[in-house]
Symmetry: C2
């Protein structure tokens, strides 16, 4: 094949995805027309839906709740089989019975972010005012808005204070917003492979992805769902570009090098001669089957807008003033998307307000994606930090699994 063509995509994917966006295979919490969520842009959203999953049981004191925040293309299916792909949950190695976030001990909540496409209200949802799919009529949201929506979910669940808020990448941004906007409600916080703002380079890569989506005529000015289209090729290109940033140069080298794909010599054509080309094409195609293009635009925009210091008088430390939360900040040596220096900025700001903070830089050659992969040092770090924080909070040991 010369390129990623429409016939490479699974036609059932779009239908399945739309069904998950509008009738998700998870729990949902509905907020009515009389409970508008005020957004950072000034608009209000009502009614709206917050989709989420839970694992384990909330203890009598409601003291053992762990909120897991997902990244750009993640969702609420953190530790169960994914309803579209059939694959294990995206953090099944971290969350589950006997795992570092032990569901025999903790009550784990994982919400699909506002603006997402797995059941929480987002651009693929129907606008209750018009009955049409929102598309670009959905308001531009922020990471703070996502968190404010999660606060309401936690309220409804009757939880005053979360024992822990944890997440990687954009999940880490949510962790930081929780710790900044809702200090009293976070006992401990673990931002992994994250940053307190998006850099110029981060914005640049996202802008390339957005332009790739919007350049696809099937995007139809954002109205593709009404028109029965999907901007498959644009979204696939966006994912391919983003995917490179999730891996380190070394990881790509070790995984693929210059190895050829199913051939012994160069084809002197535009086929996927190299394994890395074939791999990227596959990443692009399979992403389209499970993700909504407009959600991709909205979520990347929210990440680009994220700048915690700017929300607090341009001084990051102000975001954390008066905090009593225990922090564990984690970065990876080969992560060039959210490099260690960005985590150190967070740590410096926390130190400036005398916060209780541990910082761990984990040696890894896997790049940004390390936070999702089998990294024993990450598991040990989280297990240790959470275990010690749980002891301080007096959370009972794990039930027999």
């Amino acid at each position: 094949m010369n390129s990623v063509n429409p016939q490479d995509f699974d036609p059932a994917g779009a239908a399945c995805r739309l069904s998950e966006a509008q009738q998700p295979s998870s729990k949902v919490m509905r907020f009515g027309a009389d409970e508008p969520l005020t957004l950072d842009c000034g608009q209000s959203l009502a009614p709206y839906v917050q989709a989420y999953q839970t694992y384990g049981e909330l203890d009598a004191g409601k003291s053992n709740a762990v909120l897991v925040c997902h990244a750009l293309t993640g969702d609420q299916h953190v530790a169960n089989e994914h309803p579209i792909t059939g694959k294990p949950g995206w953090w099944a190695t971290m969350v589950g019975p006997g795992r570092p976030i032990d569901t025999n001990r903790f009550f784990v909540i994982c919400p699909n972010i506002l603006g997402g496409c797995m059941g929480s209200t987002g651009p693929a949802s129907r606008n209750p005012e018009t009955g049409e799919v929102y598309g670009l009529d959905f308001p531009v949201i922020t990471v703070g808005d996502m968190v404010d929506a999660q606060v309401r979910l936690i309220d409804r669940l009757g939880i005053d204070q979360l024992f822990c808020v944890i997440g990687g990448s954009m999940g880490g941004m949510q962790v930081l917003e929780w710790a900044a906007r809702h200090k009293e409600r976070v006992f401990s916080a673990v931002p992994v492979a994250s940053a307190a703002r998006h850099t110029s380079q981060n914005i640049a890569f996202h802008e390339v992805g957005r332009q790739a989506v919007m350049a696809d005529p099937e995007w139809q000015g954002g109205k593709y769902l009404e028109n029965g289209k999907v901007p498959r090729r644009g979204l696939a290109v966006a994912r391919m570009a983003a995917h490179i940033t999730y891996l380190s140069e070394q990881a790509l080298h070790l995984k693929f090098g210059r190895n050829l794909q199913d051939r012994t010599a160069r084809s002197f054509s535009f086929s996927a001669d190299f394994q890395v080309e074939s791999y990227l094409r596959h990443q692009g195609i399979s992403f389209v089957d499970r993700f909504d293009a407009n959600s991709y635009l909205y979520i990347t925009r929210a990440m680009d807008y994220f700048d915690l210091a700017a929300e607090h008088g341009a001084v990051l430390a102000n975001a954390f003033k008066g905090t009593r939360t225990r922090f564990c900040v984690v970065s990876f040596t080969s992560d060039w998307l959210y490099p260690t220096r960005e985590s150190k900025e967070i740590v410096r700001a926390l130190n400036a307000v005398a916060a209780d903070v541990s910082f761990v830089e984990i040696e890894s050659d896997k790049g940004h994606d390390a936070f999702l992969l089998d990294e024993p040092e990450l598991f040990a770090t989280i297990r240790g930090f959470i275990g010690s924080a749980a002891a301080r909070r007096g959370i009972a040991a794990a039930r027999a699994g």
Copy 2:
């Protein structure tokens, strides 16, 4: 504007570009049907055209010729106003009277590479067999093919040995091929910000660009020129992605940071809120006006195929065995596309065959593009190396300018 739209592009650009591809504003050397160029893919190319520029005068002994090899999106207009953009030559700071490559002393030749779109035969040229534009019927070429075509040009100019072959990025790859394939014809060689092979990550970024072009319906399976179309948006996205790799994270930070473009607050829309977005969109749009999409596919492919060690029994040093060429290898500290370790591989290989090699790593925060920019240490390095090599070769001092 929400995205890069067809109306953002200059409609005159395509016509002007096509005219340059078929009737260039530069010298041309024509090779007849009886002078086929045998390509690495096994096919032959005939007849074909090699477009080029020259500056300065060849001395009586034909000893003062400097061949400048251009990079992916460069061309032969190294030191004169560009016929499409009206901008100064891409290396006017390096080449000219009194410049490090002093045209009062040296005879400078800069060929447009085979496969390019500024007059040398490439996919935008007419296939003499059919009278149609080549498009994807053009054979897939290699960096070695580009160099073999340049050898014929040098033959025609009556030059036995080039005093110097110099180039940055893909220009440096050509320098290395010259030094490997045509040892006796290169007195000195200067690969700048280059590598002896394309890494997995390099290939990955190029593949994203190619997929962006091919995903554009206006690409028309490569036949856009016959059909009066241009895959503007796809090529613009490809250029945007590539452009990020040419700059360091620090350069982007210093140049743009998170500064907003012509506004004081976020727009909560998909407009180019940030300066870096506006800059990238401009880079994409202006590139389309001066470059051919199929040429972009062919040249990126040639770069991906480049692996000098593989051509020499998997041992890079073999490529240089017996060389008497003087080398000066230059890299930049913040270049993450062709980082210093790639230049060091070249230096190691040259040392292994006891070649005469200097290596300079230049401290710069400008990333890969540093080789095109105002870098005093680069100018001083080239001036020093070339001056000393010219003295050894007995080239007369500069004429009064």
